[in-house]
C-alpha cells in the first residue's frame, strides 16, 4: 500500500495535500489574504507536475489492488490536465476578486476537480472511475454557479441534472457488466469476456457506459446542456469546463474502447452514428447563433464528435491522432477563453457584434485571439491544420466504409468555417466611437500569448508532439 502510494499516487497525493491546505487556510485566514489562494494553487499544481516524474510507468503499474494504474498514456493525460489547470488558475484572478471571502474555497474546489480528473484517467476499475467522475463533477457545479447572477445558477442546475442522469445511465451499464462478469476491474473483465463470444447484453452495457461517459463531452443524446451551461458560465470557469473534463473523459473512453469494451463489433458503428449526428446538430445550430459563448459551445460539441468518431475506430494510429488532436484543441480553446476573459471584465458583452473594431485599438490581443480561432477552424500555420489533416487521415486509414462519414465531416467543416469566421470578422471592422482599449492583467496576457505561441509552434513543427503521441498510443 505504501509502496503503491509512492510509486503512482504522489502527484495526486500532493494535490490532495494542497486542497487540504486551501480549506484549512480558508477557515482560519482573514479574507484580506485572499490573493495568496491563487499562489497556493499554482504551487500545488507545479509540485504535482514535478512529482509526475516519480510515477512508475514501465511497463504498466497497477496499484491499490489493481484499482489504479499508470503508464505513459495516463502520465501524458495527467500532465496536460494539470497544465490546463495551471492556465485556468492563472485566469481565475478576476472571478476571485468578486467574492474574496470564498477565494480559498474556490481554489480548493478547482483543485478537487483537477484531482478527480487525474484519477479518472488512471482508473482501472469501474468503482474508482465512478467515484472519480463524481469527484470531478461535484466541484464543477459550484464552480459554474460561482459567477454572479441568475444565469450561472440555472447553468449549474442544468449541468447537475444532466450529470446525474448520465451517471445513472453509466451505472446501469456497469451493473450489467458486473452481472456478466462479477467484477469491476477492467483487466479482469477483459480476461473473462475474451474467452467467450460477446453477447447482446455486453454490447448494451458498453453502449450505456459510453453514453454515460460522453455526456460530459456534450455528445448527442446529452448534448443540449452545453448551450445553456456555456451561456451562463464565467469564462475562466469555461476554460476549465471545456478542457479538463473533456481530457479526462476522452482519456478514459479511449482506454475503455481499447480494453474492456473492444470485443463488441457493433459499438464502433453506434458511436460513429452518434458522433455524426452530433456533428450535424452542433454545426447547424451554430449557423444562426450570434452569441460567442454559444458558438464556442457548438464548436466544443462538434470537435468532441470528430474526436469520438476517430476514437471509436480503435487502432494505434487513431489513438495517437486522438491524443494529438486533443492537445491542440485544448490549447487553442484555453487561448480563446482567455481572450473572452479579458473582454468579459471590460463589460463588452458576448455578442459577435460587440467585438466590432477591437483590432484597431488592441493589435496584439486580437491577433492572438484570431490566430486561435483560425486554428480551431483548421487553417495552416496553426496546430489546428496539422491536427485536422492527421485526424482525417486516420479516418481514411480505417477503411473505405468510413469515407461517406468523412465526406459528411468535410462538408460540415465548411459550415464550421462560417461560424468561426463570424467570431473574428467583426474585430477587423471599422472602429466605432465606443471601441475600447482592453484592460488586461498580466496573467491573462501570459495565458493568451503562451497558448497562442504553442498553437503556432505545433503548427510549424508538429513532429516532436506527434512522435510523443505515437509512442504513448503504442504503449497502451
Amino acid at each position: 500500500m505504501i509502496n503503491d502510494f509512492f510509486n503512482i499516487f504522489l502527484p495526486q497525493g500532493c494535490l490532495a495535500v494542497f486542497i487540504l491546505i486551501q480549506l484549512v487556510l480558508g477557515m482560519f485566514l482573514s479574507p484580506r489574504f485572499y490573493k495568496y489562494s491563487r499562489f497556493i494553487s499554482l504551487a500545488g499544481l507545479s509540485f504535482s507536475i514535478i512529482l509526475l516524474s516519480t510515477v512508475q510507468i514501465e511497463p504498466q503499474y497497477f496499484g491499490f489492488k489493481n484499482s489504479i494504474m499508470s503508464d505513459s498514456y495516463t502520465l501524458l493525460f495527467q500532465f496536460i490536465i494539470m497544465l490546463c489547470g495551471f492556465f485556468v488558475v492563472l485566469l481565475s484572478k478576476k472571478i476571485i476578486n468578486t467574492f474574496r471571502q470564498n477565494a480559498y474555497t474556490y481554489n480548493a474546489l478547482l483543485l478537487t476537480a483537477i484531482f478527480g480528473g487525474l484519477n479518472i484517467v488512471s482508473a482501472n476499475d469501474f468503482l474508482t472511475l465512478f467515484i472519480s467522475i463524481e469527484l470531478m463533477s461535484f466541484p464543477t457545479y459550484f464552480l459554474i454557479s460561482s459567477a454572479k447572477g441568475y444565469h450561472s445558477k440555472e447553468a449549474a442546475f442544468k449541468y447537475l441534472i444532466t450529470s446525474a442522469v448520465s451517471t445513472s445511465v453509466f451505472l446501469l451499464g456497469v451493473s450489467y457488466l458486473y452481472g456478466i462478469t462479477s467484477s469491476f476491474n477492467f483487466t479482469e473483465i477483459y480476461e473473462i469476456l475474451s474467452e467467450g463470444e460477446p453477447t447482446l447484453i455486453y454490447t448494451m452495457s458498453g453502449v450505456l457506459i459510453i453514453l454515460g461517459l460522453i455526456s460530459k463531452l456534450s455528445v448527442f443524446p446529452f448534448a443540449n446542456w452545453v448551450i445553456d451551461v456555456y451561456k451562463g458560465t464565467e469564462t475562466s470557469v469555461l476554460a476549465f469546463l471545456s478542457t479538463i473534463p473533456k481530457l479526462a473523459m476522452f482519456g478514459i473512453v479511449c482506454r475503455l474502447l481499447v480494453f474492456p469494451l473492444s470485443l463488441s463489433l457493433e459499438l464502433p458503428f453506434i458511436i460513429t452514428i452518434i458522433s455524426i449526428i452530433t456533428a450535424i446538430w452542433a454545426n447547424t445550430y451554430a449557423i444562426r447563433e450570434k452569441n460567442v459563448k454559444v458558438i464556442l459551445a457548438c464548436s466544443a460539441s462538434a470537435n468532441a464528435s470528430y474526436v469520438l468518431l476517430v476514437a471509436s475506430l480503435v487502432s494505434v494510429y487513431n489513438l495517437s491522432t486522438v491524443i494529438f488532436y486533443l492537445i491542440c484543441y485544448v490549447i487553442m480553446n484555453i487561448s480563446v477563453f482567455s481572450f473572452l476573459n479579458i473582454t468579459e471584465y471590460d463589460n463588452i458583452g458576448f455578442f459577435v457584434s460587440n467585438f466590432k473594431g477591437l483590432f484597431h485599438k488592441n493589435h496584439a490581443l486580437t491577433l492572438a485571439y484570431a490566430i486561435s480561432v483560425i486554428g480551431l477552424a483548421g487553417f495552416p500555420i496553426t496546430s489546428g491544420f496539422v491536427a485536422k489533416i492527421y485526424l482525417f487521415s486516420a479516418i481514411v486509414n480505417s477503411g473505405l466504409v468510413f469515407i461517406p462519414f468523412l465526406l459528411a465531416l468535410l462538408i460540415l467543416m465548411v459550415i464550421a468555417l462560417f461560424y468561426y469566421l463570424k467570431l473574428i470578422i467583426p474585430l477587423f471592422d471599422k472602429a466605432g466611437k465606443d471601441t475600447v482599449v482592453l484592460k488586461s492583467l498580466y496573467s491573462q496576457k501570459l495565458v493568451l500569448f503562451v497558448t497562442t505561441a504553442i498553437t503556432l509552434l505545433i503548427g510549424i513543427y508538429p513532429e516532436k508532439i506527434i512522435e510523443l503521441c505515437r509512442f504513448v498510443a503504442y504503449n497502451v
Binding site: P380, I381, F385, F392, S393, I403, L410, M413, V414, E463
Partner: protein, 506 residues
C-alpha cells in the same frame, strides 16, 4: 548565359539568399513586419515599403528566371529545396520549380507589383492591414505554384483564403460597398468546400499510394497510380476536379466568381482574375494531368464538354451584362474554359497553349480590371448604359484601353491570339477521339462572341456623345499609365516572340 554563373560563383555561401524559400517567404516576412504593432502607422511609408518589397521580389524573380537552367548542375540545385516536416505522414516541406512554375511565379510577381502600384489610387484606408494581407496572399500563391508535396500544396491553398477574404471584404476604399462582405464570404465558403473535397482526394491518394507501393510519401514525383484500383482512381480524380473546378471555375461551381470579382477593390480584382484563377488551372494540371494521368484520359472528353459549356455559355452571359466589371468577370470564366480545353487535349501543344494562355489571360484580365477601376474611379458608375463619351477627355487612356481590349479579343500580334489558336489546334489534333475535335470546332464561335461583348464594352464605355456629367474628368495618372503600358508591352512581346515562353514549358 555563362556570365551569370561567373557572378554566382562568388555567392556559393549565400545559398539561402538565392533559393526558393527566400522567394516564397520574403513576402510573408514583410507581411508580419507590417502587421507588427512596432511598425510605423504612416500610410504613405507603408505603401512605399510594400511597393519596394514587391519591386524587389519582381527583380528577384527575374534573376531566378535568368538562372533557370536545369541542365546546369549549380542552377538545377536552385530549383529544388526541401526538409522533412511531418515524418509520420511522410510529408516533406519541399518546393520545386519547373518551367511552368517559373512562368506562373513570374506572372504572380508581376501582377502583384502592378496591383501594388494600382493600390495607390484605389486603397485609401487601413493601409497597414491591406498591405500585410496582400503580402501574405502573395506568399500563399507563390507557395501553391512551387509546392512539391500534396500537403504543402494544400496548406498554401488554405492559407490563401484568410487574406483573400479580408482583401475582398475589407473596407479599404472611400466608397462603402455593402455587398463586399457577402461576396467575400461566398468566395471563401465555395473555395473551402472545394478544398475540403480536394483534401479527401489527397488523403485517399496518399493512403492508396502507401498501401500499393509501401512508400510513405506525399511528394508529387513519388506518387504512382498504376496499382491503385481503377474505381478509386476515378473517385480521387473526381475529388480533384471538384476541388479545382471551384477555383477554375467550371460551370456549375462558378457562381461565386462574378460577385467576388465585382465587389473586390480594383487591385484585388486584378489579382483574383489574373492569378488566383490560375491556381485552379495549375492544380488541375499538377494533380489531374500529371499524377492521375491514367484516369485523365477517360475523364478528359467529359471535362472538355464542360469546358465548352464554360466557353460559350459564359460568353453569352458576358454579352448580356450591363456592369463593365461583370463583363470582364464572365469573360475570364470563358477564357478559363479555354485553358481547361487545352489541358483536356492531353498533348504537348495543348499543355503549352494552356500555360501560355494562363500567362496571356492573366495579363489581359488584370489590364481589363484596371480599366474598369479607372473608369469607376472617375465616373462613379460601372453601368454600361450611362457611361460613354469619355474617349475625348482621356485620349491616352482610350488608346491603351483599345489595345488591351483588342488583345483580349484575340487580335494577332498580341499574346492571347497565339494561345487561343494553339488551344483550338491542340484540341483538333488530340488523340482522345471525336469529342475533343467537336469541342474544338464548337468553341470557335468564342472568337466572335468575345469580340461582340468586348467591342460593346469599348463602344458603349468610351465612345458616343460627350456627357455633361463626365465633362471634367482627367486623363490617367502616371501610376495608371505605367500599369496599363507595361501590360500592353508584355502582351506585345509575348505575342511577337511566343518562343520565349513556349521554350520554358517544353
Amino acid at each position: 548565359m555563362s556570365h551569370y554563373y561567373l557572378i554566382l560563383e562568388g555567392f556559393d555561401k549565400m545559398d539561402i539568399l538565392i533559393s526558393i524559400p527566400f522567394l516564397i517567404f520574403l513576402p510573408m516576412l514583410a507581411s508580419f513586419l507590417i502587421m507588427s504593432p512596432l511598425f510605423t502607422r504612416n500610410e504613405i511609408a507603408i505603401r512605399r515599403f510594400s511597393k519596394g518589397i514587391f519591386g524587389f521580389h519582381l527583380l528577384y524573380t527575374i534573376l531566378m528566371l535568368l538562372l533557370f537552367d536545369l541542365s546546369n548542375p549549380y542552377t538545377a540545385k536552385l530549383s529544388f529545396w526541401g526538409i522533412d516536416w511531418i515524418q509520420s505522414l511522410g510529408v516533406q516541406f519541399s518546393f520545386k520549380i519547373d518551367g511552368i512554375s517559373m512562368i506562373l511565379v513570374l506572372l504572380t510577381s508581376f501582377i502583384f507589383f502592378l496591383s501594388s502600384i494600382a493600390s495607390k489610387t484605389h486603397i485609401r484606408k487601413n493601409c497597414k492591414f491591406y498591405y500585410s494581407m496582400l503580402l501574405l496572399l502573395m506568399s500563399a500563391v507563390l507557395g501553391i505554384f512551387t509546392a512539391n508535396d500534396m500537403f504543402v500544396f494544400f496548406m498554401f491553398w488554405e492559407l490563401e483564403l484568410i487574406p483573400a477574404y479580408f482583401l475582398i471584404g475589407g473596407d479599404f476604399s472611400l466608397d462603402i460597398n455593402p455587398n463586399a462582405k457577402k461576396s467575400a464570404m461566398k468566395f471563401v465558403l465555395f473555395t473551402f468546400l472545394g478544398s475540403m473535397i480536394m483534401l479527401l482526394g489527397i488523403l485517399l491518394l496518399h493512403y492508396y499510394n502507401y498501401i500499393t507501393s509501401q512508400a510513405l510519401t506525399a511528394t508529387f514525383g513519388d506518387i504512382f497510380t498504376e496499382r491503385i484500383p481503377f474505381g478509386i482512381q476515378i473517385a480521387i480524380a473526381v475529388c480533384f476536379i471538384i476541388g479545382f473546378g471551384v477555383k477554375l471555375p467550371v460551370i456549375p461551381l462558378h457562381t461565386w466568381l462574378p460577385d467576388a470579382h465585382t465587389d473586390a477593390p480594383t487591385p484585388i480584382s486584378m489579382i483574383l482574375a489574373g492569378i488566383m484563377l490560375k491556381t485552379g488551372a495549375y492544380g488541375m494540371f499538377r494533380f489531374n494531368y500529371q499524377i492521375m494521368n491514367d484516369v485523365f484520359r477517360y475523364i478528359a472528353p467529359a471535362l472538355a464538354v464542360l469546358a465548352l459549356i464554360n466557353i460559350i455559355y459564359t460568353a453569352f452571359i458576358a454579352y448580356s451584362q450591363t456592369d463593365i466589371k461583370r463583363i470582364v468577370a464572365y469573360s475570364s470564366i470563358s477564357n478559363m474554359g479555354l485553358i481547361l480545353l487545352g489541358l483536356c487535349a492531353f498533348n504537348q501543344i495543348g499543355l503549352s497553349a494552356s500555360v501560355f494562355h494562363m500567362l496571356a489571360h492573366g495579363l489581359v484580365t488584370a489590364g481589363l480590371f484596371m480599366i474598369c477601376g479607372i473608369v469607376y474611379l472617375r465616373c462613379k458608375t460601372r453601368d454600361i448604359n450611362s457611361l460613354g463619351g469619355i474617349a475625348s477627355n482621356m485620349p491616352r487612356f482610350f488608346g491603351l484601353s483599345t489595345l488591351i481590349i483588342l488583345a483580349s479579343i484575340g487580335v494577332p500580334i498580341f499574346a492571347p491570339f497565339i494561345s487561343e489558336i494553339l488551344t483550338i489546334i491542340s484540341a483538333m489534333f488530340s488523340d482522345l477521339g471525336i469529342v475533343l475535335k467537336g469541342t474544338a470546332i464548337l468553341s470557335l464561335p468564342l472568337l466572335i462572341i468575345s469580340s461582340c461583348y468586348m467591342l460593346k464594352f469599348l463602344h458603349c464605355g468610351f465612345m458616343g456623345d460627350k456627357q455633361d456629367a463626365f465633362a471634367k474628368i482627367n486623363d490617367i495618372t502616371t501610376h495608371e499609365f505605367i500599369v496599363l503600358t507595361s501590360i500592353m508591352v508584355l502582351l506585345l512581346i509575348f505575342g511577337i516572340f511566343p518562343q520565349v515562353v513556349l521554350g520554358l514549358i517544353g
